[in-house]
Amino acid sequence: MPRTPVNISAQIDYLSILDEQGKVDKNLEPNLSADQLKTLYHYMLLGRRLDERMLIMQRQGRLSTFAQCTGHEAISLGAAFAINKSDSFVPYYRELAGMLYRGWPIEKFLLYWNGFEEGAMVPDDLMDLPFCVPISSQLLHAVGMGMAINIKNEKRVVIVFFGDGAASEGDCHEALNFAGVFNVPVIFMCVNNQYAISVPLSRQMKAKTIVQRAVAYDMPGIQVDGNDILAVYSATKDAVTRAREGDGPTLIEAITYRIAPHTTADDPKHYRSDEEVAIWLKREPLVRFRQYMYDKNLISKAEEEKLEEQISNDIKKAIEKEELLAKSPEFNDPLHIFDYAYGEMPPCVQRQRKELEEYLQYKRGSYKKGEN
């Protein structure tokens, strides 16, 4: 037998619609109404301003370590805008703008980064998941949700987010492979921000792209400018249409850059130059989308000022709400530690709860032996 080439069909596109100066490619511009674009701009700005506000609060000691999302707004928001409310949105932890658009109240994020489980309480009307910290494990949950959708013969889709670092975990391979085998309606959105804490992409993998893995798993794949909300939206929309029609998963690689540190506990000066950051600051998503909005006459200076004021007020109100909740007896009762470990509290946990209750009485000075 001779050596013959193995035929592997592989075409991977890179999609950019709104360039760094905010100039749009008219041929590729998605058909979004003025109201839709205004909504996108609102949530993009809200995501950015909330992120900035939370950084200040963290520096003031009002929040603990938190993961900034500045510069990542176009990806989570563009993707969220391409699915329905009844679909599922599975984040890692930099999807602030998209989750706000999905309907997560602002105060949830403040509660989350202030150490309250209540911040991870998914709003009742969503089949979404909360932040996922352990890296890449959420991908398999999204696949399982997709399998459930198929089993139930529903027309819903799931979009799941993960970083370039997460792509190195075994779970990432397992999820993409399952997705192909079971033809699930799942969109894999890789947020390639080029750093996993200090480790640059070049150390994370030898391949030049993450999206080329789509070929290996035999699913459609596309690379997009992750700082271009129109490109992210368009690519996701196409993937969602396929998924809803039963044509299975898609891998999207959104190229962006982690302008901010990994978290507030990280100091990027250890591992990258200010010059490198400066290059990417010029490409960030908000400035170019604002330019687009101005060019289309969808926003004026006066309207923008009004929007900033409205957002500032919304954030202020949410902070007040969070502070009230964080101080409330309901949120601060240490005995709530035990409430949700199990559906029904087992006897050993009941005993431990009582033990903590006695300790709390002792600390308050009201404990008398034999009382309990």
Binding site: T65, F131, P134, G170, A341
Partner: protein, 330 residues
């Protein structure tokens, strides 16, 4: 003798080990250029280069699995898992391979690796960054498990772990990385694995603990001393192998014990200690043994972590409750 904190002492041990033996390799996420998220690998990359201080892709199973291969091939890998709450991906490699190669090849292939991981609560960390799951490793035959409690023993035990012929889990109580400074001998010091330290000599009750919880025990001993109750404190240092002899010797004297750890209670390390006391020293007991531990719930998010963690008052309450019991065994 220089004074330093525990983070610095662990860093010193890594420097000493790498200088002494060029088979020692450090690998993990962010251990090179970033010098570790807790700065434990500071200066290593600059001194030994990226061949011996390896920034790996983000994959715990990859780190442990590759370390196993290196160890089999004659190196002495010391791998870092960034937070113990993320080491489950690597556990398959640890349990199925690192812990078993010696046994299944009748000693032909051995795996002398060290897995370092910061563990435990108390630093207001995000979700999955505060777990104490040492019992999983203590429950895995073939692995050793070491938990230091301060700068001096941290350095001496890490050097012993690196020299050990078997895979060693070295859990670092991160809440005390920079809590206090202590004199660390100029000259390299190695402490044997499997040997507990008597951190305080006393006669009335034995407090058995390890890691960051030693601080709660010391605080309780001070409070109880004002009531003329004299605590003996055993700092285990090694959880596997466990130094049960030191525990029994102390119980022969005191007849009472409280065991303290921040890991959940059910099937925790304290449960094993109580079982062994039951087997070997039951008749010396004057009262039931009490546990002050984390609860059988997921580690709470940090707004309530202080209520989950053992503290000196919880230990005092536990001590009082069993000091009142008169077993009349003496």
């Amino acid at each position: 003798m220089p004074e330093m904190n525990m983070a610095k002492a662990i860093n010193l041990a890594l420097h000493e080990a790498m200088a002494k033996d060029d088979r020692v390799i450090v690998l993990g996420q962010d251990v090179g250029r970033d010098e570790g998220v807790f700065r434990i690998t500071e200066g290593l990359s600059a001194k030994y280069g990226d061949k011996r201080v390896i920034d790996t892709p983000l994959a715990e199973s990859g780190i442990i699995g590759a370390a196993i291969g290196m160890a089999i091939y004659g190196l002495r890998p010391v791998c870092e898992i960034q937070f113990a709450g993320f080491d489950y991906y690597g556990y398959q490699q640890m349990e199925s391979h690192a812990a078993r190669f010696r046994n299944r090849t009748r000693g032909r292939i051995t795996v002398p690796l060290v897995m370092r991981a910061p563990y435990g609560g108390g630093i207001r960390a995000p979700e999955h960054h505060s777990e104490s799951k040492e019992a999983i490793y203590a429950h895995t035959p073939g692995l050793k498990l070491v938990i230091p409690s301060g700068p001096r023993n941290a350095r001496a035990l890490l050097l012993a772990a690196i020299a050990d012929p078997d895979p060693v889990i070295y859990y670092e109580p991160k809440a005390i990385y920079r809590l206090f400074r202590e004199e660390v001998p100029e000259k390299t010091e190695i402490m044997p694995l499997g040997k507990a330290n008597i951190a305080r000599v006393g006669k009335d009750i034995t407090l058995i603990t390890y890691g960051a919880s030693l601080q709660a025990a010391l605080g309780a001993a001070e409070k109880l001393a004002q009531e003329n109750i004299d605590c003996e404190i055993i700092d285990l240092l090694s959880l596997s192998p466990l130094d049960i002899d030191t525990i029994i010797d102390s119980l022969k004297k005191t007849g009472r014990a409280v065991i303290i750890h921040e890991a959940p209670r059910t099937c925790g390390v304290a449960a094993e200690i109580i079982a062994q006391i039951n087997e070997y020293a039951l008749l010396y007991l004057e009262a039931p043994i009490k546990r002050v531990t984390g609860y059988d719930t997921p580690f709470p998010y940090f707004s309530k972590e202080q209520f989950y963690l053992p503290d000196s008052d919880k230990v005092v309450l536990a001590c009082r409750s069993i000091l009142e019991v008169d077993g009349d065994n003496k």
